[in-house]
């Protein structure tokens, strides 16, 4: 019983991280209809920048945890957002009118570039960050206990905050209206005076910012990372996006939670060696049974 509860807690935090990354996939897919393969590597870049920001802040003698956290979040979000913008500018904008296959191949190329660029400049070794926030809440359940570390609570809090702010921006602000209009009909939106190129850039930046939040949180919690972490977590976040219905923002969050919970339960109760196999098989299964996902609209092909 306590194992199940503990895995549910772990799954909840894992799922909120998947949800944050899935937002990048789902928004980009919604607006230009392509799978941004480089998104997982944007997450990987943000993990490195987190460690670099931490190292810099410690170098300047800052000790208090809240300032370090805010400083790291700010630096990472800013730099990763810039990566998102530049990736779109270099690899995707020149291909706006090309075939879908060209864009996909260009995205794969971008993903390889990012991985190798980080590997060449930072070395191929695994890197790590020190544990900054320790301590946990413990609840006694039957004979055992369930433990929620403060770091996991922080992950939940910041993910919910990030998703809340994003939902507000998309639903209530002018920028959000422009995004939604471009998503519905790009040509019409540009006729009505919306600078669609700018909106697409903004969406890439938003996706990168969300991935950066996930990158900071996971890196602070887990500690270790290398230049290859973006690959697996990228596929899983994409699975989450498809599960929730690609193109749908609440779907990405819901899909992330479901995937995180089911994966944690699978790892805790059946086998942790095959948890990646489980997630990938889940992706194939969803595509067979319900390709439009839980909250997505069925795809209608237009001539």
């Amino acid at each position: 019983m306590d194992i199940v509860l503990q895995q549910l807690v772990n799954g909840l935090t894992l799922g909120s991280v998947y949800g944050l990354i899935a937002i990048g996939y789902t928004m980009v897919y919604g607006i230009i209809g392509m799978i941004n393969f480089a998104h997982g590597d944007v997450y990987m870049v943000s993990a490195y920048i987190t460690a670099i920001a931490l190292a810099l802040l410690t170098f300047f003698g800052i000790e208090s945890f809240p300032i370090i956290l805010v400083g790291t979040l700010f630096l990472t979000v800013a730099v990763t957002g810039a990566y998102g913008w530049v990736i779109e500018r270099i690899a995707y904008r020149p291909l706006r009118s090309s075939s879908r296959l060209s864009v996909l191949i260009s995205a794969i190329g971008m993903s390889l570039i990012l991985q190798n660029y980080v590997q060449l400049s930072q070395g191929a070794n695994q890197q790590g960050v020190p544990t900054l926030l320790t301590g946990a809440l413990r609840f006694h359940v039957g004979d055992g206990f369930v433990q929620i570390t403060y770091m996991k609570l922080l992950i939940l809090f910041i993910s919910i905050l990030g998703m809340g702010v994003l939902t507000y921006v998309i639903q209530k602000t002018k920028l959000g209206r422009m995004c939604r209009a471009t998503q519905q009909d790009r040509k019409m939106a540009s006729i009505l005076g919306i600078d669609t190129d700018k909106v697409i850039s903004t969406v890439f930046v938003i996706g990168a910012v969300m991935a950066a939040l996930a990158g900071v949180l996971v890196t602070l919690d887990y500690g270790a990372f290398d230049f290859y972490v973006g690959f697996i977590i990228g596929i899983k976040a994409f699975t989450a996006a498809v599960l929730g219905g690609i193109g749908s923002l609440p779907g990405a969050m819901l899909g992330g939670l479901i995937l995180g919970l089911s994966e944690a339960l699978f790892a805790g109760l059946i086998s942790s060696d095959y948890k990646d196999v489980f997630s990938f098989s889940l992706l194939v299964l969803i595509l067979i049974v319900r390709p439009s996902g839980l909250l997505g609209k069925p795809e209608v092909e237009k001539v």
Partner: protein, 424 residues
């Protein structure tokens, strides 16, 4: 135009400054601050170099596109709508002599080349086979397959495990591996191919990883990361070992001194024949209705479906054919290495094969053959640049897609003419 257009250097300078600022944000942390434990080493010299290159490059580019020549180039790029070049009916290529020449050179090569060169060429030919297989899927049918290495692994492990558990040799596994890979392709492809093409990319990516994870984790069957040994091909039962456990060996039968190069010569010759067979089959298939259907479906799926093509079966045939070619290549790889382990089947291999197809030109056979040799033989020659290999592949893919999405070698096709006596 009556007046010469001057270059607005102020605009170029602003462009260059903005680019330099962005480069500073991007390169500053990652390149300039190298993590070392929980501390860091500052490498600001590298950042200065890279930012400098970006600023100068952007300035030159911005200025160039303001000149007449640059504008013409930009215009040509914007209207870059090249497709397949259609030659007049009855066109005979002037390059016909090249095929017999290549065959003769290929047959003579093993007897004159050193063992090292032969092993490099075998590796090149294996990648030609892989490139041809993926070219059917990506180039002709327009389906992006990122887990091609999975089929390659099925072929390689099929030989190794089939030999260990069932005693099957190279020759019996060659067709079985092709069929196994094709069946795996059908099981994977059938559900996904009904849907939008982009999903296939991510599902195949997941499939390639699943295969690798299973090979690594199922230690009782696949021996995990330690790998399995694979047998060499035999010539009518004659083995290419120094001593045979049962029966005769090749050198004893022909009264030759033992030389380890014989086995490579033999693998090379079989591979050479198989590559030509695949080339021939592909060449014929492209002209058959199924090949036309692949290309038509790639260009416009909705039009094809409304004309009554069964898009799932057409795509599936391309996917299975590509997969079986990958399986064949896997058998050769296992046999040539004598040993397989999961680290040969990472996503990097899939990316390499994709780079071969992209560089060679989608659908172009000649281009793929040339690209396969370039991308496998060049790293052997330029070993000191080996770590920049993946970066080069990535840049290559992005630049090729922007600059020449159909590859360097253009695809040509002979047009049709009505036969004599047919009423027009």
């Amino acid at each position: 135009m009556s007046q010469a257009v001057g270059i607005n250097f102020k605009k170029s300078s602003i462009d260059a400054l903005i680019a330099g600022f962005m480069a500073l944000i991007l390169f500053g942390p990652i390149v300039g601050v190298v993590l070392d434990g929980y501390g860091f080493n500052a490498e600001f010299g590298r950042v200065a170099w890279m930012v400098g290159i970006v600023v100068v490059g952007r300035f030159i580019m911005s200025s160039f596109f303001q000149t007449e020549k640059g504008k013409a180039l930009a215009f040509r790029y914007a209207n870059n709508n090249e497709g397949v070049e259609v030659l007049p009916p009855g066109h005979k290529s002037k390059m016909v002599w090249i095929i017999p020449l290549v065959i003769v050179i290929g047959l003579v090569l093993p007897f004159i080349a050193s063992k090292y060169i032969l092993t490099v060429v075998i590796l090149g030919l294996i990648y030609v086979l892989l490139g041809l297989g993926l070219n059917i899927v990506v180039g002709l049918a327009g389906l992006l397959d990122l887990g091609f290495v999975g089929f390659y692994a099925i072929g390689a492990y099929g030989l190794a495990l089939g030999y260990e558990n069932l005693g099957l040799g190279f020759w019996s596994m060659l067709p079985i591996a092709a069929i196994m890979a094709a069946v795996a392709g059908a099981i994977l492809g059938f559900p996904v191919l009904r849907m939008h093409g982009d999903y296939l990319a991510i599902v195949t990516l997941g499939f390639g990883e699943i295969i690798r994870l299973i090979l690594t984790n199922w230690a009782s069957f696949t021996h995990g990361p330690n790998g399995v040994s694979a047998p060499l091909p035999t010539l009518f039962g004659l083995e290419f070992k120094r001593r045979s456990s049962d029966g005769q060996t090749f050198h004893e039968f022909f009264n030759l001194p033992y030389d380890s190069a014989y086995k490579y010569m033999f693998v090379y010759l079989i591979l050479f024949v198989v590559v030509w067979a695949v080339l021939f089959i592909k060449h014929r298939l492209v002209k058959m209705p199924i090949g036309r259907a692949w290309e038509a479906l790639r260009e416009d799926e909705i039009a094809c479906r409304s004309l009554g093509l069964n898009h799932v079966l057409v795509k599936l045939s391309a996917f299975m054919l590509g997969a079986s070619t990958g399986g064949l290549a896997g058998v050769f790889f296992a046999s040539y290495q004598g040993f397989v382990n999961p680290s040969s089947f990472t996503f990097f291999e899939s990316a390499l094969i994709l780079a071969i197809v992209v560089l060679g030109g989608m659908g172009s056979t000649l281009g793929v053959v040339i690209a396969a040799f370039c991308l496998t033989v060049l790293p052997e020659v330029l070993r000191e640049f080996a770590e920049y290999r993946v970066l080069m592949f990535g840049i290559l893919m992005v630049v090729m897609m922007i600059w020449k999405p159909r590859g360097i070698v253009r695809v040509t096709r002979t047009g049709f003419a009505a036969r004599k006596g047919v009423v027009k």
